[in-house]
């Protein structure tokens, strides 16, 4: 595999190596988990706010 191809198909972020953690008092969470929770919140809010266009068929 060429270096260019490896760059394209590889992860956008290098996930190899020790994880990064955030400490806040007794709360400890990995950056990866925090990012996923943030994405879920953003997706949830978007799902509520973005209008759903339908092509009839509903009663």
């Amino acid at each position: 595999m060429t270096a260019a191809l490896a760059l394209v198909v590889g992860a956008l972020i290098n996930l190899t190596g020790p994880g990064h953690y955030i400490h806040w008092g007794f709360i400890q969470i990995s950056v990866g988990n925090l990012v996923v929770i943030g994405l879920m919140v953003v997706t949830f809010i978007a799902a509520i706010l973005i209008p759903y266009h339908r092509k009839g068929g509903q009663s």
Binding site: T43, F44, A46, A47, I48, G57, Q58, S59
Partner: protein, 228 residues
């Protein structure tokens, strides 16, 4: 002699003298609870037009991908998924479809929670969702334990203290690889898929929950009025 009408048989209408048979009783129950028009409906209420409803379907799509990739992994085994490029790809496919499964399921859960989707005799629908979520967490844990790498060893030695503290370590031994693998590829997938099917059938049987503002102020009065 009773004449048997083939059309009646195919329509599920039995003979009066067969009404006491268990087959007739089960068929009657299913026809009352889930008539074909409700099982596979052509139309849905207008309030279903929301992106929130997409996430339940996306969860099932991710689950199908989890089962498919997991099936391929079980056919080939650990030496394949650790060493070959195709094996690594399918292993990653299994991991990321699980990530998406939980992602979509949590968004679906939040949506249903804020809709109070257990209203209108839909408590069992809600609870089957809860049980699926819990079974999925178990499937996730046993999946991490079944990787056959140092990560799995580390997680198992960390998890054993928690499991022992709960008092079930003798029955659910996270250090027992064979037991964890069986839970992961047999018991928990069966539970997740079976309860998901039940969950969907309950949604079909009872319909999706109407918005709170469309619900009668006093359900008891509404029922009495409806009967009167």
């Amino acid at each position: 002699m009773t004449t048997i009408d083939r059309n009646d048989v195919e329509a599920g209408i039995g003979l009066p003298e067969d009404a006491d048979q268990w087959t007739a009783k089960i068929r009657g129950f299913l026809m009352r609870t889930l008539p074909p028009g409700r099982l596979i409906p052509d139309r849905q209420p207008s309030y279903m037009a929301s992106w929130i409803y997409i996430f339940g379907a996306l969860t099932m799509g991710a689950l199908a991908m989890v089962i498919l990739s997991g099936g391929i992994l079980s056919l080939e085994g650990p030496t394949w998924w650790h060493t070959s490029s195709v094996g690594l790809f399918v292993n990653s496919l299994h991991l990321w479809s699980v990530e998406l499964f939980f992602f979509f399921m949590v968004v679906h859960l939040w949506g249903k929670f804020f809709m109070a989707a257990w209203r209108g005799k839909r408590a069992l629908t809600w609870m089957t969702g809860v049980i699926t979520f819990l079974a999925s967490i178990g499937a996730g844990l046993t999946g991490y334990l079944s990787q056959t790498n140092f990560d799995a060893q580390w997680i198992s030695t960390q998890a054993k203290d928690g499991i022992n503290a709960v008092g079930i370590g003798a029955y659910f031994n996270v250090l027992n690889f064979g037991q964890m693998l069986m839970w992961h590829i047999m018991i928990l997938p069966l539970a997740v898929v079976a309860i998901t099917v039940l969950h969907v059938l309950l949604v079909r049987a009872r319909g999706i929950v109407p918005p709170i503002e469309l619900e009668p102020a006093d359900p008891a009065t509404a029922v009495a009025g409806g009967e009167g």
